[in-house]
């Protein structure tokens, strides 16, 4: 016999609107073992929590059922509540009558009836619950940050400043990310390099940060508090311990590769650093463009290197780091606009995408900061086309959020650096940020021509060969415009990194419809993920600007810190165990477990489960033909009883 208390939450009108809550409480009181049942306006409020705790004492409750919102929302809250009242936290059952009931029906009859069935199921289940003891584990105090853009840099610095050891993994040969490609930042127009390079340098100098550039995470094992992460160091063919960054090699190199950093606008050497302020200031060799790797001879770099740092035999290496928490901050790609043939990217040399234009403005860029077209001429007329692939059902439904603002920035810089006429073809101007609307106003006054109408087509001019024509409807006058320009700048959708699916798989992250990493809760846990101990920051979560990215980086650092700051932490107790008396030795559990938690004890002829490795999925329990494996908190009896309760009404 157990003593169950049932607490039905109104959630204001959220639940009470489509479930007769007092009737539900009265019904609950009639169910077996229920000794008290109440309804209350907001069960998660302090008075609500106190009511539960009072009743636990007064009625000597040994099971608590909270009939309210989703367990994903407040299970943790209420577990604390009952634990503080002296009850084991696993004796709580949540009945989800909000997300999966009151919000998905308008019919109060239907709502009340289903709520009763759900509650009945919960009572049946609750009667079979057992108190469980959480496992306490040691926590590794170090943190891994994946991605060396502004988000990763900021998070790493924050953590390192608290004394935390940080591993910062970056797949490129330098940290800095997209922000290092920019020239100015909106709306203040401060120079991107001026605010970023000191931070890059701080990373390099910080004794608590181990920077792992040209590296990728290849394997993730373990769990919150104790991750074992395998990192691949790609072959650089340059021994960075020996290299003294004299860069004599890069001068002599005859190889020619395409500069990724300059978005393919220029060539670079085969041995190179991506840009002058790169961190670390040490070159790598690109196999694809290296004369030696292509033709088997050259080695000019090796000849000029006084440090003997060039090593053509270098192989990729793998190392493992142990950390307690992980921050994923892997940023974004721009959508490939070639499939949108109407805009002529890749077809007309005068059509650019936004990152290319960033490089044109940049004094370290291919043109030394002069805005010139591919033929070297200065454009006299420029069109900026918003929402290319963004807000578009055929490509990416989301708004890429930063394009309106960087287009304004571009317009300003075009006005500053050229005498060109500048047109903005937009659908809606979105300038919702501090100082953004003011920046928009400023650009209007700078005489940028704003055309409300999405660019429909870019074509070449028949009258003036070499010029481009942008066709669009000015929706404010209903006039069809043909605007002759020299340069077209496309603002493509911001999309997840091409390899983000692989990363999601490694860290067990969910991705949203567009492929961005999903947060645990859009409002209350925007940086946490479904994997305990793994946090996300920056554009890998969704498009955002630098201020928001930096804010998230601080947040993610704080989140990671809440884990690694403690020596020990509690782990969910919902692991599996073997009842040796029932084990028939079939070893199915050993065969299926993704974490190798079960093993077969040859002497005793039974399976055993290492609970430290078990993540509680319950797969072993379902493949166990003799039900010898008990999936704690989701035992066969508990599930069957819940089913029985649910089907009774």
């Amino acid at each position: 016999m157990s003593r169950i208390g049932v607490f039905v939450c109104h959630c204001g009108l959220n639940i009470a609107k489509t479930v007769r809550v007092s009737e539900l409480a009265e019904f609950a009181a009639t169910l077996p073992d229920v000794v008290v049942a109440r309804d209350y306006k907001f069960m998660c409020s302090t008075p609500g929590q106190e009511m539960i705790q009072r009743d636990i004492k007064e009625y000597k409750l040994d099971r608590v059922i909270v009939t309210a919102c989703s367990p994903l929302m407040h299970e943790k809250t209420f577990r604390k509540v009952i634990e503080n009242a002296g009850l084991n936290q696993y004796l709580l059952t949540i009945v989800n009558i909000r997300e999966q009931l009151s919000w998905v029906t308008h019919d109060i009859e239907e709502g009340t009836a289903k709520a009763k069935a759900l509650l009945n199921g919960a009572v049946y289940r609750a009667r079979l619950l057992a108190p469980l003891t959480s496992r306490v584990i040691d926590v590794n105090p170090d943190v891994l940050v994946v991605g060396g853009g502004i988000a990763g840099i900021q998070a790493a610095l924050e953590l390192a400043n608290t004394g935390t050891k940080v591993y910062l993994v970056e797949k490129n040969s330098t940290i800095g990310g997209h922000m290092a490609q920019f020239d100015k930042t909106f709306p203040t127009l401060d120079c991107s390099a001026c605010i970023l390079t000191p931070k890059m340098d701080a990373v390099l100098q910080h004794k608590n940060i181990q920077m792992l550039t040209y590296s990728e995470v290849t394997e993730v094992k373990g769990y919150v508090g104790n991750f074992d992460i395998t990192i691949k160091q790609k072959a650089r063919y340059v021994d960075h311990n020996k290299c003294n960054a004299c860069l004599a090699c890069t001068e002599k190199c005859p190889g020619k590769g395409v500069s990724e950093w300059d978005e393919g606008l220029v060539k670079r050497k085969a041995i190179y650093i991506p840009f002058p302020q790169a961190v670390p200031q040490k070159p790598v060799i690109d196999r694809e463009s290296c004369t030696y790797f292509i033709k088997g001879k050259c080695k000019l770099c090796q000849k000029v290197c006084e440090q003997k740092a060039i090593d053509f035999e270098q192989q990729e290496t793998f190392s493992t780091v142990k950390v307690g928490a992980v921050i994923v901050a892997t940023g974004y790609d721009l959508m490939d606009t070639k499939p949108l043939v109407q805009y002529g990217y890749g077809q007309y040399p005068g059509v650019y995408h936004s990152l290319e234009v960033e490089r044109l403005f940049n004094s370290a860029g291919p043109t030394g900061g002069k805005v010139t077209l591919r033929d070297g001429k200065e454009p006299q007329s420029i069109a900026l086309l918003h929402c290319i692939g963004s807000r578009d059902k055929n490509y990416c439904e989301h708004c890429s959020r930063v394009c309106c603002m960087y287009s304004l920035k571009f317009a300003h810089l075009f006005k500053e650096k050229t005498s060109a006429d500048v047109y903005q073809f937009y659908i809606d101007m979105r300038a919702a940020g501090k100082g953004y609307e003011e920046f928009y106003n400023r650009l209007i006054e700078e005489d940028v021509k704003f055309i409300r109408g999405k660019g429909a087509r870019v074509t070449d001019s028949e009258e003036e060969p070499g010029r481009l024509i942008v066709e669009a409807e000015d929706t404010l006058t209903s006039k069809f415009l043909r605007v002759p320009v020299d340069m077209v700048v496309l603002c493509p959708a911001i999309v997840p990194r091409a390899d983000s699916k692989d990363l999601a798989r490694l860290f067990n992250l969910s991705t949203d419809k567009q492929g961005f990493f999903m947060e645990r809760h859009p409002k209350l846990a925007p940086l946490a993920t479904m994997t305990e101990g793994v946090f996300i920051a920056g554009v890998c979560q969704s498009p955002k600007d630098i201020p928001d990215t930096v804010a998230q980086a601080y947040g993610a650092a704080a989140e990671a810190l809440t884990i690694v700051v403690k020596d020990k932490m509690e782990l969910d107790a919902t692991t599996a165990m073997v009842n040796p008396a029932s084990c028939c030795g079939c070893q199915n559990c050993v065969r299926v477990c993704p974490y190798s938690a079960p093993s077969f004890n040859v002497d005793k002829r039974v399976s055993e489960i290492n609970e430290a490795l078990c993540k509680g999925c319950g797969l072993c329990a379902s493949v166990c033909p003799t039900s010898a494996i008990i999936a704690r908190h989701f035992t066969n009896e508990q599930v069957l009883a819940e089913m029985e309760g649910l089907m009774e009404f």
Partner: protein
């Protein structure tokens, strides 16, 4: 008169009820109107039409008929608005209110009275055959669905004959519909007369069912699209160009005649291309004909321009300077081609008109791909000349 207007949401609702539900999704970005071939040359504005529809505003009567349903805007729309459905719904609501323009009244009247748009006598639908070709019966594999336009329009009768002769060469068994059938109704539906369309459709479906039709070959892409999308039945429908392409590749049809380097370009009919996704078959056919030099126009395939004949456009008078077909002929001429090939009787009609008004008869001629194939097979469909001489 006051300039102020009030949204008339009942009208908006009526449009949505008539199948224009999609107008809700529009966020007025102007992609459709910026893409629409009519925007630069007429005062028709598809975006504005949707906007007026959203608010139920008056004042679209004079431009709502401009759309030729070429589907370019639908393919581009970032919000997935089915703009053609919106156009049909608006036309349905307005023509229901008796606002059909004069030029379309004859068209709708003929459809209603005679089941075809050309005021032709229903019984004479198959007169062009001179009883040379068989009617469809259960033992035939394919029904060769002759579009009304190829049955009644003198220019397009040549296409009908060419198609029949080519079909005879492919070795398949085929037959013609009886004269009981009527127009597929595709254009009528686009004009918004959904009720009459249903009548025509059901009449045709009766014929298909009662005579055991399962495979249909069409010569007009409009019939093709209509059978596939609007008839809601599981028939195997094939455009003639696809069949010819297949038979050439199988070696059943062998183009022989050498065209001696004549330049040909190909115009994608909207209903064969964007509506039905057939781009390669007619091109492959042209490329298989000896001595034909194939050139592309600037706007081709998915980007192809409309001739203006769809959506009822064929029956509407357009002023000079407001004709897409004129622009298209100019584009064809700029390639240096002497033959403009296409695969749709509407396109043929539109282009032949334009060639006449542009006085370009000596520079370019319009041919259906099927006609070129027949010519390359060295088969003549001309009437015996003997009689003519003897007169």
């Amino acid at each position: 008169m006051s300039q102020a207007v009030t949204p008339y949401l009942e009208m908006s609702q009526a449009i949505m009820d008539a199948g224009g539900e999609a107008l809700k999704k529009c966020y007025q970005c102007g992609t459709c109107s910026g893409t629409c071939p009519w925007t630069p040359i007429t005062h028709f504005n598809i975006r504005k039409l949707v906007r007026y529809g959203q608010l139920g505003l008056d004042g679209i009567e004079d431009f709502m008929w401009g759309c030729s349903t070429c589907k370019f805007c639908v393919d581009r729309c970032p919000r997935g608005v089915e703009l053609i459905d919106v156009v049909m719904a608006i036309r349905n609501v307005y023509s229901g209110g008796g606002m059909l323009p004069q030029s379309l009244r004859a068209f709708v009247g003929s459809m209603s009275a005679r089941g075809n748009p050309w005021s032709g006598d229903q019984g004479s639908r198959n007169d062009w055959t001179k009883e040379k070709y068989p009617l469809f019966s259960e033992d035939k594999e394919y029904l060769f669905w002759t579009c009304c336009t190829v049955c009644y329009d003198p220019r397009n009768v040549k296409l009908a004959k060419a198609a029949a002769e080519v079909l005879n060469q492919t070795g398949i068994s085929w037959g013609l519909p009886t004269t009981d059938v009527n127009c597929c109704g595709e254009s009528l539906k686009k004009v918004g007369d959904l009720e009459l369309f249903e009548r025509l459709k059901n009449n045709n479906l009766n014929f298909f069912t009662s005579s055991g039709v399962s495979k249909i070959i069409t010569v007009s892409p409009h019939c093709l699209a209509s059978f596939k999308k609007d008839y809601g039945q599981d028939y195997e429908v094939l455009h003639l160009s696809k069949l010819i392409d297949k038979k050439i590749k199988e070696g059943k049809l062998i183009p022989k005649k050498d065209f001696g380097g004549a330049k040909v370009t190909y115009h994608d009919p909207c209903y064969l291309g964007r509506h039905s996704g057939v781009y390669d078959a007619p091109r492959d056919v042209l490329k298989s004909i000896p001595g034909l030099e194939f050139v592309e126009m600037k706007r081709s395939r998915e980007q192809s321009m409309c001739c203006g004949g769809g959506g009822g456009g064929l029956w509407m008078e357009k002023l000079k300077g407001e004709r897409l077909s004129d622009l298209r002929i100019e584009e064809a001429l700029s390639t240096g081609a002497s033959i403009l090939a296409t695969s749709c009787p509407y396109c043929i009609t539109m282009f032949e008109d334009s060639i006449r008004t542009l006085n370009a008869d000596d520079k370019i001629s319009v041919k259906d791909v099927t006609e070129l194939v027949l010519e390359s097979l060295e088969i003549s469909i001309d009437e015996p000349v003997v009689d003519a001489c003897s007169v």
